[in-house]
């Protein structure tokens, strides 16, 4: 139930502005890949092109190919709605739907496209998804309460439960812990480790220790200066990137000499 992603010669534009230039990267199925780099280097922008979420911003477009097990996400006739149902996303700030209960939040994606689901099936799915997000024990007695009443870390795990309830091929995470305290962060990191048994996980993070802890492979993005496009500088096994990088810029960044 998880697929690999291969990106070929990808350029991302906002209008005429080239935001990310010429990215080639191969992301293995059932692995955790971390994107690191200084602010504004285009790693979040690039992440959002992997499920066509960047298109929400008017004028955003890409050139190149993103292949999900060989199928181009940007091929003719491909519906971004279908792409997003296969490639889920967790955002920087926890965003459970405030107008829905915890249970309805988990089922939100499943009920799309007028899909009908029996109460029994829904119960099973809610429990399985919340178990999968390590949240079941904390919320099982208050499933009908609003999701916005949970703590930040719980809300973020609820968002992960909501994402895995639709059984995507890939889960993208855009700095999922940056608004959380260290204990909640640890809970999410543990969860990411479990998720990779079933899903392909791609995570953007500002926290290099986090990248080192959770990821199998790490990609370092950098930017030459303001107004210049972001580029993928180096991509490799996480231990190699952190202890023995090929590029000088990567070494400077991971050792804290720059950035």
């Amino acid at each position: 139930m998880s697929k690999r992603i291969d990106v070929k010669d990808l350029n991302v534009y906002y209008g005429k502005f080239l935001a990310v230039e010429d990215v080639n990267i191969n992301i293995d199925a059932k692995s955790v890949t971390a994107f690191i780099g200084p602010s504004g280097c285009g790693k979040s922008t690039f992440l959002r092109t992997l499920n066509r979420m960047h298109e929400v911003i008017p004028g955003a477009r890409v050139e190149g190919e993103v292949l999900l097990d060989g199928d181009n996400l940007y091929g003719p006739g491909v519906d971004p709605v279908t792409v997003r149902s296969q490639i889920g996303m967790v955002f920087q700030r926890p965003n459970p739907f405030p107008t829905m209960s915890i249970r309805d939040n988990v089922l939100a994606g499943v009920k799309l496209n007028n899909k009908k689901i029996s109460k029994g099936e829904a119960d099973v799915l809610v429990e399985r998804s919340l178990q999968g997000a390590n949240l079941w024990n904390e919320v099982k007695d208050r499933l009908s309460k609003p999701g916005s009443g949970l703590s930040g870390g719980q809300q973020q795990r609820l968002c992960i439960a909501r994402a895995i309830a639709v059984e995507p091929q890939v889960i993208l995470m855009d700095e999922p812990c940056s608004a959380l305290d260290p204990i909640s962060t640890l809970a999410i990191e543990d969860l990411i480790n479990e998720l990779k048994d079933q899903y392909t996980v791609v995570i953007v993070t500002h926290n290099m220790q986090q990248a080192a802890r959770v990821s199998d492979k790490t990609a370092f993005f950098n930017i030459a200066g303001t107004g210049k496009p972001g580029k993928l500088i180096e991509f490799g096994d996480t231990p190699t990137i952190f202890s023995n990088p090929t590029e000088k810029a990567t070494e400077d960044y991971v050792s804290g000499r720059f950035g």
């Binding site: 929400v56 997003r84 889920g88 955002f91 739907f97 405030p98 829905m100 939100a108 994402a163």
Partner: protein, 310 residues
């Protein structure tokens, strides 16, 4: 270097604070005083009509018999207006906030705001001079084909000056109010939640149903209530458009009257107890509006937990 002590403070800043706080307090008290004053005036002036013997009230059968057809007429006109205007307004607001290209959206928003600025007498004139004439053939059609429904019972008014026409004119008048308020509310839906819905694979319409509409629900209700307030109290347009008469179930016959139009049409020539009767009618309208607002507040606060405000 001068030493500053913690007990010393900048006097000017505090004066500003005090003036501002006094000004807001005064404004808050003033609105309450005005409301109370109006209510007091209505009650005091209405009492003679409420306690007067039945045969001295217009119609000769007491105040209650006089007022209830007007209450029903007022509610009918307002309900027609809201039934037509609410879905249309929400549709237009969603189009402006989420579907239209940006250039078109701002132009359209401006036009809608402009509609709200047209005085009601102009709407009334348009209703009586244009709409009533143009719409009367369709009333004939309704009477012929849907006449078995009491509300469309024939014979249809030949002039088209009916409560349905008045309701349609009111709908046009409240449309810009509901549209511009709901548009502002829809625009305030957090991007975060819209993106959450889209990232789950929602289409644009599903995203709107999952985030924009539930998030805007209290605002939609408030906007509709403001529209209802205008529809209930609208005087000039109804007075011009409606050829008033006794209470009838049929919306396409001449008849029915609203409280506001009744007051406006009769007040200039009224004297003595007649004035008190009309003011008492005004009091009834005041109570209806108050009741509607209380109900609306109740609906909004019942869903507070899920409102997204926490």
């Amino acid at each position: 270097m001068t030493t500053t002590s913690l007990t010393k403070s900048r006097g000017a800043g505090h004066t500003g604070d005090k003036v501002f706080s006094a000004a807001t307090l005064a404004a808050g008290c003033l609105i309450l005083a005005v409301l109370f004053g109006v209510a007091l005036f209505l009650v005091v002036q209405a009492i003679p009509a409420l306690v007067a013997p039945a045969d001295q009230i217009q119609g000769g059968e007491g105040f209650f018999t006089y007022i209830w057809p007007l209450v029903i007429g007022t509610l009918i006109a307002a309900v027609i207006a809201l039934v037509i205007a609410t879905p249309l307004a929400i549709g237009v607001a969603l189009f402006i906030s989420h579907f239209a290209p940006r250039n078109l959206a701002s132009g359209l928003g401006y036009v809608v705001d402009l509609l709200a600025a047209i005085p009601s007498v102009v709407y009334g004139a348009w209703g009586v001079a244009f709409l009533a004439k143009e719409i009367s053939p369709s009333y004939d059609w309704l009477a012929k084909n849907m006449g078995w429904l009491p509300i469309f019972q024939g014979p249809a008014s030949a002039t088209g000056k009916t409560i349905l026409t008045a309701g349609i004119v009111l709908a046009v008048m409240v449309l810009p109010i509901i549209t511009s308020l709901t548009r502002e509310i829809f625009l305030q839906t957090p991007k975060l939640h819209e993106e959450a819905a889209l990232a789950l694979g929602a289409t644009r319409w599903e995203m709107i149903r999952m985030t924009v509409l539930p998030f805007g629900r209290p605002g939609i209700i408030s906007a509709v209530m403001l529209g209802l307030g205008r529809a209930l109290g609208e005087t000039m347009a109804v007075a011009l458009v409606l050829s008033s008469g006794a209470l009838t179930a049929s919306l396409i016959q001449t008849g029915n009257q609203t409280i506001a139009a009744e007051i406006a049409l009769n007040f200039p020539e009224a004297s003595g107890l007649k004035v008190n009767t009309l003011i008492a009618a005004g009091l009834v309208l005041f109570v209806i509006t108050l009741g509607v607002n209380v109900i609306a507040r109740g609906i909004i606060s019942r869903h507070k937990e899920f409102s997204g405000a926490n």
